[in-house]
Subunit: 328 residues, 2 copies
């Protein structure tokens, strides 16, 4: 709907497809029906504007998460900068392996190794310094497959869903297992989602003063919120304080967020993106026989719960006409 | 300013005092000058709308905090309900003292006792049950001095400041040492501040399922954020992710929030409410020789920092024409 307001009272509405990158089908209809139902004044499912909250997982839901999370690529990059500043780390694991560039060895790093890398690259600095470093990387780094900045690897159909919901009074939140401070650096420009509407895995910051007595916040190696699984509804309660009316995800890490959303009264929209398009993006499940993965698992159990609980599964292959804005 | 937009382009502005309960003087001017400076397109101090964040402490800044924080009165009230449900607690301290109603003994309860009372009355239940209980108390409880519901003991001049800032594109946040879940119950109705714009001391919640398998969040006795002192800028970074352009407080617990706000570039507004009106409200400092207090201390050191750092001290006695909306 494109609405033009003239003289304050006369509204001319021109019917326009708000979701042009979506093929007609159950997924597109689910979104349009939900928006109509919940915004129709006087309707049984009307949701007051202040309660219109929609939450979106990021990795695998709003942008590409394979072969590795973009933030992990950032951490690996920062190891290089770290070793330049502290050459003695060159021969210390796990930094030595990251520096070697040996993909097979890197893929075998343990969770403990990855934690060490995260602590070394994401903490210890002023929050503003961190923002500047992340911003620079995002401007320069390119995804190896498409040779595009990571922030261009967002899904056009989901960008349309974000805009369509916002145009209908919904506050759109990102609720991500990724680092809250990291995602906030680009979310406003990339998705139109301001920092205060990004809920993510969060490290503590510590208030103090620099050598000139100027207040500063230092990023600490202390996890305040692990925004995955049960941490998603818990993080939503902590940061938003309202139950969403719509929630979008793509993996087992989003299960509890969708359950919590659906358990509210009235019309609720729960959607899961299924990556079933190896040609245009990636194909992984293991639901419906797709290849297994460690990054963004969509299990058969999750698929079954979706069907049972009335969530809509989005097939990238069938429901999306176009995946990226840069495609012709 | 009352602005009427006609035909989209012609704006007729009628001069109206946005702060009628404020006496003319430095405090009122500081607010009006700040708003003009930061919203004037093309001006040196212009702040883009998305960056307009103003934070307000609650207790002693937006509403009365003497003789005791309202939330503490709520906890004491809930001890009664608790003992009804579990009569064996009647003879267990500190519940026994609270039930006795002996004000002198209650005033002597230790921090450890108060923590036990907080854990017993604020945790263990479903978040929705907690909201319903707090809502009921707020509807029924009355402050002993004015015999009014606590939510009517808000300061009219601060309500005007909240509205004036919002009318000029500022997002107004409450950043309180009080319980986030508690304040969120009434903040929207009382201050026009939605739950997602309330940052407070926060307990963890735990995701689970009730006996019918319905998702629920249970309030846990685990502190996620102590939103006092350094915890205020840390909480602002965690929950908002932007440095405020304006911050309002009244005690040493707000010092770091105001320092952090003032340390940003461009025009910043930092204000402290000084309770120097024993007749119309309360008088306590101990700054400028006012009586000492344990609730909402405004020390001489804080007063000196305010003067040195360019914060504005609001004298309730001299700067506020009217304190409560219910006054004639």
């Amino acid at each position: 709907m494109l609405a033009i307001v003239i003289a304050g009272h006369i509204t001319i509405a021109c019917a326009q497809d708000p979701l042009p990158s979506w093929n007609d089908g159950a997924a597109k209809s689910a979104i349009v029906d939900f928006v109509k139902k919940t915004t129709e004044t006087g309707g049984a499912n009307f949701v007051p504007p202040e309660e219109r909250i929609a939450t979106f997982d990021q990795d695998g839901t709003l942008w590409v998460e394979h072969p590795a999370y973009s933030q992990l690529m950032y951490c690996f990059y920062r190891v290089g900068a770290l070793v330049k500043a502290k050459p003695e780390l060159k021969n210390v694991e796990p930094f030595k392996t990251v520096i070697s560039g040996d993909r097979e060895a890197i893929a075998k790093l343990s969770m403990g190794d990855l934690e060490k890398i995260a602590v070394a690259t994401l903490t210890g600095m002023d929050t503003e310094q961190f923002q500047a470093e992340a911003k620079q990387w995002l401007a320069e780094a390119k995804d190896p497959r498409w040779k595009k900045p990571y922030t261009e690897l967002t899904y056009l159909p989901m960008q349309e869903a974000l805009k369509y919901l916002r145009a209908n009074g919904y506050k759109t939140y990102i609720v991500t297992g990724g680092g809250q401070d990291f995602v906030r650096v680009y979310a406003e420009q990339t998705y139109g989602v301001p920092p205060e509407q990004v809920v993510g895995s969060a490290l503590a910051s510590k208030y103090g003063y620099d050598k000139n007595g100027k207040p500063m916040l230092t990023k600490e190696p202390k996890l305040v919120l692990n925004d995955n699984d049960a941490g998603k509804p818990e993080g939503i309660h902590l940061m938003i304080g309202r139950r969403p009316h719509a929630a979008f995800g793509n993996s087992t890490g989003d299960q509890q967020m969708l359950e919590y959303t659906k358990a509210g009264d009235g019309a609720r929209l729960c959607m899961l993106v299924l990556h079933d398009d190896a040609t245009r993006e990636y194909a992984y499940g293991p639901a419906t026989g797709l290849p297994d993965t460690k990054v963004g698992m969509f299990t058969q159990a999750l698929y079954d719960e979706a069907k049972k609980d009335g969530w809509t599964v989005i097939s990238m292959k069938n429901d999306w006409k176009q995946i990226f804005a840069f495609e012709k």
